[in-house]
């Protein structure tokens, strides 16, 4: 039960931090996505929980301000187009079972901090994907608590 370095042929889901880096056009993220697409003829996918995080941001604005202004609406439209282009890995029954297994085995102090990473890791594992992340250590922590039948979480570390 561990994390390992993803091979060049591993299909990857983006951790939210990498997605954020890509949004901010940080060169390491832009280059990594470009390299991945060039290698796989495929974009990295997003876990459903990442879509939640993205939409959570916009919905929070609506709750706070009553509505999204035109600029925010355009930005949301772009985000949603990008989500569709990348494709989404569902948080399905398998993923839920994996997440439950990991979550209860994390120390309490890590549960609040890492619950979204747990969902991302579980979703990736359920679909046979690895995770592209900036935060290797978070996923290594999660990797210590994988179910036996999913003994290895493959990680691609995309950071500056």
């Amino acid at each position: 039960m561990a994390t390992l370095v993803a091979s060049p042929s591993t299909l990857l889901a983006l951790d939210t931090d990498v997605f954020t880096d890509w949004n901010k056009q940080r060169p390491h993220a832009v280059n990594a996505v470009n390299d991945y697409l060039d290698r796989m003829d495929f974009l990295p996918k997003l876990a459903a929980i990442t879509v939640f995080e993205i939409e959570h941001g916009f919905e929070s604005l609506i709750v706070k301000s009553g509505s999204l202004d035109q600029t925010a609406q355009q930005i949301r439209s772009k985000a949603e187009q990008l989500i569709r282009k990348c494709g989404v890995l569902d948080f399905n029954q398998q993923a839920a079972e994996i997440a439950a297994h990991i979550y209860v085995r994390l120390a309490h102090r890590y549960q609040n901090k890492h619950w979204r990473d747990v969902y991302i890791a579980a979703t990736a594992l359920a679909h046979g994907y690895g995770v592209a992340t900036r935060n290797q250590s978070d996923f290594e922590l999660i990797g210590q608590h994988l179910p036996l039948q999913y003994s290895t979480l493959l990680l691609a570390v995309w950071k500056p």
Binding site: A2, L4, V5, S7, S9, T10, L11, T16, D17, F19, T20, W22, N23, K24, Q25, V30, V33, N34, L37, D38, M40, D41, F42, L43, E53, I54, H56, G57, F58, S60, L61, S65, D69, T71, A72, Q74, I75, K78, A79, Q81, L82, R84, K85, C86, G87, H108, Q111, N112, K113, W115, H127, G128, S151, T152, L154
Partner: protein
């Protein structure tokens, strides 16, 4: 514009944005051809018109273009009456039909779909009918990515077909397992030495002295070097023989130890199954005898479409990267969605 095939429907919306469309259908000739220019890709597709029909006083015209022996491109022009003095703007629908569910058809169709989807404008010419139109596509972009992936898989399958002298029926959509198998077999025949993701797998070995020695060494060192006399892979119901294989797995243990101990002691050459689990996450495979990838060049159309790949990938990346760049960061600070790294939890500290 709509683009769809019998195997994988894709809907695209388009209109003619410039040009004239006056189809005198009486002027039909035997050698009628149509041409699609994709300026952004410096590519032009010419195909003979195999069938032409009209309905509703030529308001609806259907044209079937024989792009390839395996692929028919169906164009439907739906004339619209001018309203409020506006110019008539015919709508265009494009479908693809695969003559057979072959890898060749899948490759051509997926490449052309990606090409249409990534082209801002396409020039469509049918000189004999005085058709010279610029059509602008509003393709559902989520289809382009899967088309690029399918295109790649279809190309690999075509090469596998040639190497193994077989023809496959390519499903409308591929499972992860099928994609893995395609890329694995292709890598075996092109690279010969393959490092592949491995966590647990079963191998069929012969109960003999050599195997026993190899397993003993593996048990002691955690490194298993296996020799498989006849490696086979199943793909689309076909059995592909890759020949002799050597497999090296590190940081590994045998899962079915009791069964293996019992079987290996018979030393009679019978085949038995060993399940190995590795914490290394990968195994190294050697396939010295696997059929080789064909050296012959593909035909003209396939070669033209193959060389488009870097341009397709570049165009697709440009599109998605522009979207990514515009997703969040330009909002004023107070309007930014909460940072993703913010501590947010559905579980309160008290509950945890």
């Amino acid at each position: 514009m709509q683009i769809a095939t019998s195997t994988s429907p894709v809907e695209m919306a388009a209109g003619v944005v410039a040009g004239t469309l006056t189809p005198p259908l009486s002027a039909l000739f035997d050698d009628l051809t149509a041409e699609f220019d994709f300026p952004a890709f410096n590519y032009s597709l010419t195909a003979p018109v195999a069938e032409l029909s009209a309905a509703d006083d030529f308001q609806r015209i259907t044209m079937k273009l024989a792009v390839d022996r395996e692929v028919i491109l169906v164009c439907r022009l739906n004339g619209e009456s001018a309203t409020n003095g506006a110019e008539p703007r015919p709508g265009v629908t494009i479908d693809f039909e695969a003559v057979s569910p072959s890898a060749r058809a899948a490759f051509i169709i997926s490449t052309l779909k990606a090409l249409f989807g990534l082209s801002e404008t396409v020039n469509w010419r049918l000189p004999i009918l005085q058709l010279d139109a610029e059509i602008r596509l509003g393709a559902p972009q989520e289809q382009v990515g899967p088309m690029l992936r399918r295109r790649k898989m279809a190309q690999l399958v075509m090469e596998i077909e040639q190497a193994f002298h077989q023809e496959f029926v390519m499903p409308a959509s591929l499972t992860r397992e099928e994609e893995d198998r395609i890329t694995f077999v292709h890598a075996a025949m092109t690279e010969r030495s393959v490092v592949w993701t491995f966590t647990e797998g079963a191998f069929t070995l012969q109960a003999d002295q050599e195997t026993r020695a190899r397993l003993e060494i593996g048990n002691q060192s955690g490194v298993f070097n296996l020799e498989i006399p006849r490696w086979r892979e199943e793909l689309f119901g076909h059995r592909l023989r890759l020949g002799h294989a050597s497999v090296a797995i590190e940081n590994a243990t045998i899962v079915n130890t009791e069964e293996v101990s019992r079987e290996i002691e018979r030393l009679d050459g019978h085949e038995f199954r060993v399940v190995i689990r590795s914490l290394a996450g990968e195994a190294k495979y050697g396939f010295p005898d696997a059929p080789r990838a064909p050296e012959q060049k593909p035909d003209e159309l396939i070669e033209e479409l193959i060389v488009l790949r870097p341009l397709l990938i570049e165009a697709f990346f440009r599109e998605v990267n522009e979207l990514a760049a515009g997703c969040l960061p330009d909002l004023p600070e107070e309007e930014l969605p909460p940072p993703f790294d913010e501590e947010v939890s559905l579980v309160s500290e008290g509950d945890a």
